[in-house]
Subunit: 213 residues, 2 copies
């Protein structure tokens, strides 16, 4: 299989950048590396992305690349991390104000649309989250991201249903969130028409669960 794995250890740990860029020059170069990686992933997928090509397109040497990213996974991880930070902020904002059932219905529906749109529009993130399962560190990042997002949902549910068992609400929220991501992935691989139907069906099911008890 095309040698797309890091020679080193199998354990899921992502080593921190070998060295954090402290000077202006290197910070700009690291940005260029990330941009190059992002472009290549969008064009060919992360698996086909070659480290040498990333370096070349970023206009740096292969050695410089490895100065800041200990291995190939690390540069993909860095992109994924940025994405999760952005999307979490957006999700938190959408759910923060919700205080009643009707508000939840509107906010959640909008959220799903936004997320689906993001998935459709961003080949990079689609690729990264698709490949996610194969890489332990990325899988853990995704799980952490899901938990964080589900947390916002849990908070809303606790506000709306103070009498309910908190642990059960957490389980529900996590499940609904994860199912949403699974639905997006499925929706993308079956094509637009059927995908839209699936997302709509998910939205209906999830809302039913979230709203009427």
């Amino acid at each position: 299989m095309e040698g797309s794995t890091v020679a080193g250890s199998q354990d899921g740990q992502i080593a921190s950048p070998r060295r954090a860029p402290s000077q202006q020059r290197s910070r700009e170069r690291v940005e260029r590396m990330l941009a190059a990686a992002s472009a290549l992933i969008a064009e060919q997928g992360s698996d086909a992305m070659r480290m040498g090509e990333v370096a070349e397109r970023a206009g740096v040497s292969i050695g410089s690349l490895y100065q800041f990213f200990p291995d190939k996974r690390a540069i993909i991880w860095a992109l994924a991390e940025r994405y999760t930070a952005e999307s979490q902020a957006c999700i938190a904002a959408a759910l923060a104000q919700v205080s009643d059932a009707e508000g939840l219905r509107r906010a959640f529906s909008e959220l799903v649309d936004i997320y689906y749109g993001l998935f459709l529009a961003s080949p990079v993130m689609r690729d990264i989250w698709s490949g996610t399962q194969a890489d332990k560190a990325l899988r853990e990042l995704e799980l952490a991201d899901s938990r964080a997002n589900a947390e916002f949902l849990t908070a809303v549910l606790k506000r709306l249903r103070p009498a309910a068992d908190p642990a059960a609400l957490e389980t529900t929220a996590l499940l609904i969130w994860q199912m949403g991501e699974a639905t997006m992935r499925l929706a993308i691989s079956v094509g637009r028409q059927e995908g839209d139907d699936l997302v709509a069906a998910y939205k209906r099911m999830a809302l039913r669960e979230l709203l009427d008890h």
Copy 2:
């Protein structure tokens, strides 16, 4: 990532075995190769599985391995295919007799338990379906498997709700099935305790959707 791609084409096609084993001797050897691959995947994951190691453990040369499996994905694919054939038969059997709501409740509940048990018990299949997303051919096999399984569910739903829109029933069935697989994956990566809760919550949600309304 550790070399998880075939050197050849990126396209998801899995070439058929270069040569089908026609003699008794080679048929046994192919079995040994599959067994060796299965054991190695269980021990280290498919990504860390080395073709040379598979050959060695099967007691054949690397050349013989490539005589029957055109590339690394093909041997993984062969294992996955066996699994899907088995599980589809089991699922079809469980759902074939269902003729009323109560029967569906029992059959579906049992089915989820069986599937969950299979997932928990089989590190090989867990690994293969985990890595699935990264490989186009496997992703397609998984989707085909989901569709086939959802089909059985659709058939039951059409029987129970003849008035409903058939297309909507298909969408529902596919979504519920896919969500189930997503739930299993999630359940496994969060650990037994929380995993059981998640599966139970899924079961409840899915049944609600399948039964009332």
